[in-house]
Amino acid sequence: MTWRGRDVINILDFRRDDLDRLFSLTDQLVESDYRAPDLSGRSVALIFLEPSTRTMYSFYSAVNRLGGSVLPLSMAEATSIAKGESLADTIRMFDSYADLLVIRDKREGAAYYAAEVAESPVINAGDGAHNHPTQAMIDLYTINRLKGGVDGLTIGVLGDLKYGRAAASFILGLTLYKPGRIVLISPEELRLKSEVRDYLDSRGVEYLETSSLRDVVPELDVLYVTRIQKERFPDPLEYERVRGSYRVDLEALSGAKEDLIILHPLPRVDEIAVEVDDTPYAKYFLQARYGVYIRMALLKLVMGV
């Protein structure tokens, strides 16, 4: 499918060959540390109606490196929204100012709706607990780049699989490939939501669910870590009880394969111990660096430059 003019709402809107094209362009950008005025005279609206630093600045940086201008609307500046303007009206206005809209909103489905309203392409930068497709692209790219592919690998996903949009999009993105095994590691309370589970089942994807990181660490080629948030637990004591079991430190990693890679969508709080940063496993900062190039490649493909 052609990339030009396309909305980026859900990782499942893409096929494997779409991602191959995105990733090979990203490779070129990474290798040449690309900067060029490809977006000169074009503008990208960054409509961030939920607090965000990483994703917003990653897009900001991507647009800057391509010589485009940014029209930012962040929470603090969203005076029109505060006055009671609808998202639809905000989108319509920015649609007339910008050539592409990047949107984050805590309401699930907001990006899909924005794409219905806007004529310009819309990129979903996170909608509640639903989707975060550009993060999934970064994750899949990082695995492809560091491991030479996704197929056949044993991939562990750790943390909040129920409310975490990054984890959900990553897991769905894995179904575009043929990983050897997907291992879902989380407390009972935060297991995969039924919509994602049913999708895996309908595609015949094999996965193992477990509460124990230690049991599965030796099998893993990739460990994708997400944060478990205290507020997801009705009982704070329960949170305190489980949090230690999901902390990735050197002890938890004893027995891991030598070439295991650990990814994290960031920001990290304390789910990965700082001591892990100095090990060859730690690839999360590299992953974040690739994020800018993925977003540059996306902008180039969607805007046809």
């Binding site: 609808s86 639809a88 309401r107 699930e108 489905g109 899909y112």
Partner: protein
Amino acid sequence: MDVENGILVRKIRMGTVIDHIPPGRAFIVLRLLGLHQEPRNRLAVIVNTDSRKLGRKDIIKVEGIHIRGETLNKIALVAPEATVNYVEGYRVVEKFKVRLPDEVVGVVRCSNPRCISNSPREHITPRLEVVRPSPLRLRCIYCERYTDYEDVIKHFFET
């Protein structure tokens, strides 16, 4: 009509008979069709009667009108096996099964309170795809969360 209901309720001369409603759901169907607040029509509700097909079932008879249009298919949300019979001169002149469309538009709202379609400022017409008719499961085209039979019932009794 496949059962002897004459004892309870007499046959109607002209009107609509909605048959094969799962037992206990007739009042939900009335509500779906807005008949619970329509005093002009004489109607009979037969609850928990014998059925060869379902074991037990409910029946609604509405005298004087042939209920038509898209609203009839709303019935399929709670009674996927229901049949609609048009009666003229005490005889069934037309009979068909209700049909659940592939997408339910503007009838029920998404069960996810965090869905953009439930945002009061946005005025979005809810659109839910049918995942399966029985037990009913719908999926919002915006947030992709499920809305199940229980959610639909809650929706109709809250509004």
